[in-house]
Symmetry: C2
Subunit: 238 residues, 2 copies
């Protein structure tokens, strides 16, 4: 453990880093489709839905859309993909249920155990592009013991905008260097480091399934490089 000083708070990227969005959504949508007798390539829908994630936030970042919660961006992308993929028979209630699948994502096996250990020593919270309601319902469904929910709607900005990382420090009355960003994504950590935060990485090589192209390993010397969140807890003495 080579850290000179430990953080006071650790904030976590959520989609992919704490929860397995891909396997969760494929299982959730497949079960719903089976129950409703609706045929679709649910894995393709999930992969294309996630592929629409960054472009949809970029529209907000460029000012083409006013501030929009991720739930609403997800819904617009979902409606478009249902058209493109020709999935027939989905009612408004089905679409609402599917869209809230992001509120029902399941944690990776190490996540709740590691976060429970870390919570005894540090302030912990998600710092996610998800909105507060999404992250809060996810936490309650999955038993994730956050101290505070840092949804992007608190800041009116999506990561990697610096307003998000610095907004956490401001709300906690901490210096940026007393806050650690923890994620399975190198680009998130690079932006957090530019804002002055500490950084921790672990890989989730299965996050994107066959579409995974990056983030197999740390691409900078982050403050902590761990195997997973349990290992992060061990390296931080928690």
């Amino acid at each position: 453990m080579g850290l000179a000083t430990k953080p006071r708070a650790i904030v976590f990227d959520t989609f992919g880093s704490v929860v397995d969005w891909r396997a969760s959504l494929i299982a959730d949508l497949s079960a719903h489709g089976a129950a409703r007798g609706i045929a679709a390539d649910w894995a393709l829908l999930v992969d294309e839905w996630r592929a629409a994630y960054h472009p949809s936030m970029d529209r907000v970042r460029r000012g083409e859309l006013p501030w929009t919660k991720l739930d609403a961006l997800h819904r617009a992308s979902l409606d478009r993909l249902i058209e493109i993929q020709g999935i027939a028979g989905l009612t408004e209630a089905d679409r609402r249920h599917i869209n809230l699948g992001w509120h029902r994502l399941k944690p990776w096996p190490d996540a709740v155990a590691g976060l429970t250990r870390l919570k005894r020593h540090f302030i912990i919270g998600p710092l996610s592009n998800g909105n507060v309601s999404l992250l809060l319902e996810m936490a309650k469904n999955a038993g994730i013991p956050w101290d505070m929910i840092f949804g992007s709607d608190l800041f009116g900005h999506f990561k990697p905008d610096p307003e998000t990382y610095l907004g956490v420090a401001r709300l906690l009355d901490l210096e940026p260097g007393q806050v650690m960003m923890a994620a399975a994504h190198n680009n998130d950590l690079a932006a957090a480091r530019r804002a002055g935060l500490m950084t921790a990485f672990w890989p989730r090589p299965g996050e994107y399934g066959p579409r995974q192209k990056q983030d197999y390993a740390a691409d900078q010397p982050w403050d902590v490089v761990a195997r997973d969140i349990e290992d992060l807890a061990s390296q931080l003495g928690a």
Copy 2:
């Protein structure tokens, strides 16, 4: 239990309703004064400090001050009262320690048990004039199991401004009528009801010590009137 429908989320007034600010601060400051060999009427300081609370927030509400976190309003009032009361020998470190006494307030005996029961059925959080960092440190010190911290700095408004009650509903993607405000203060509940929230009351007749003048009982037919937070949990089936 005469509620036609139950809330999805319950937000709690904190100072006085969940934590016993007066006994906590008198004990905390007396111990610090004894350890530092500094003589003062700590109970008087605490009572006058609390008496400065509403006037200090009113200065923000009237626009005489820009948005200011409660920690900073508390500090300004503390410095003024130390002068007025002629308390000698307090260093900057002492003043910072004393001011953070609000982060170390202790819960009433029923609070953590009642909130732990309620958390299994409802989203729970403080909706307080305290800032996020104050409420979060209080929760970690005292083991209060909030799902989310609704500090006044999330809204840039103090209660009873409607932006606070409606801000909770907005962040949770709920209708105001799906959110219950829970407090030992009738005026807080009156403002919450005007904003469309459900309401729950229990008395804390010892809150202000000998200065208590009101809130011995419900002064309107609130949706729930309870003995304490454990009884609120029982009445809500939690």
